[in-house]
Subunit: 216 residues, 2 copies
DNA sequence: TAGATTGTTAATCGATTAACAATC
DNA sequence: TAGATTGTTAATCGATTAACAATC
């Protein structure tokens, strides 16, 4: 039963489903139909059913979906039923903010180490975790079952650090540096290009201004 | 000459083109063909030509594209030829990190105010900008020609603050809160859902694990 | 059973890629 | 001029939406 490859578009939507289902569950909602959920989320009911059916049928004809069950199943699909161990590389502003931020109110993502090349930061504690010298990174990853590296180093350092991470056998990189990393396919990368995001907003703003002048 | 609506997919790619062209320019490259750029960026040359042609032809047959010119044109399209005035709402870890971060090494995005509801933070200076009480926000926006509000408040407060921002006539919201904002169409929103991003990475990791067990 | 709603197939829409005539 | 490469049209591919038979 080889899984057919799930498209990027579907994957991108999963966390949003998860978020809405979590809220419904917290509100004590027991069941929901694709129709109701579609109204709530502003998507088509067809799309919801198609998306869920990529992973097998979670609903029941005439009833809809059980919120608690669907929530748990999506959590499993997303790998949120287990704990991930993270390290943060780069203890600058962003690295420190993420250290304080990453758990997102839920268990599941645990920052266990923070690394930097700046000796002035060594030993500094951020949320109880001390900053270590970069040289200790490789050993730390091997000995502490680290899954994910959060890359918050300057652009210029990012490619080099990514290479080190690949060499030490990291599984995934959450990349905040403004470069596209070139890593082997087995290392998963998720980019957060903040400047790209802000630039998209600038585009929308600019477009809007242009349209209004044009009298649209 | 009514502009046809540009698709989300194209818009999403523009900042990446801009980034690559900036690097080429900095490296002193004068001209580039869609073919060369396609190899560099790992996309098809067809797509590059199609994308650029949504905004008019920037190239020349037999020659390719002039890097400096194309870079400047894309900057204009993206609204990067003018200065944006930002305020940050929510002076927590993330808000402070972004205050230190937002200029991205380029002029164009200027943080002029930071607001919070926590009196303990009032007057604290972040990158030379003092934190002000939330009550002053409306007047500040009106008097200081503010374009963009960066929303780094907790989820629970986000919808309320977004409402205030709409009322005071903000043009755009860069939303870091984990909720979908419901604002009028003329207010542009760009979401940065960090937890969604991390969850997608978790999915990829989980999928990878499952495939390997399955012997793929 | 009748009504509701899924799972799934078929139709549509849009985005990407290929091809090539226009032209520098 | 000949060669190169764009701008643009046509073909393909994939994702979204619509429709409906299956079934709870």
């Amino acid at each position: 039963m080889a899984d057919k490859e799930i498209s990027q578009a579907v994957i991108a939507r999963l966390p949003r489903y998860f978020r809405y289902l979590g809220e419904l569950r917290d509100d004590g909602v027991e069941r929901i139909s694709s129709r109701e959920l579609s109204r709530l989320m502003n998507v088509t009911a067809s799309q919801i059913r198609q998306d869920f059916n990529h992973f097998g049928g979670f609903g029941q004809q005439g009833y809809g979906y059980n919120v608690e069950y669907l929530y748990a199943e999506i959590a499993k699909i997303l790998g949120l039923d287990r704990t991930h161990h993270l390290i943060i590389i780069g203890a600058g502003n962003l690295g420190q903010a993420l250290a304080n931020y990453v758990d997102f109110g839920r268990k599941g993502f645990l920052v266990t180490g923070i690394f930097d090349v700046n000796p002035a930061l060594y030993g500094k504690k951020i949320r109880g975790i001390e900053v270590r010298p970069m040289e200790e990174m490789a050993r730390f990853v091997r000995e502490n079952n680290v899954d994910i590296a959060v890359l918050t180093v300057p652009k210029s350092a990012a490619v080099g650090v990514a290479g080190q991470l690949v060499k030490v056998g990291i599984s995934a990189i959450w990349n905040f540096a403004h470069v596209d990393l070139d890593v082997p396919g087995e290392v998963k990368v998720e980019n957060v290009h903040l400047s790209d995001s802000l630039i998209r907003l600038s585009y929308l703003l600019n477009r809007k201004g242009a349209q209004e002048e044009g009298g649209v």
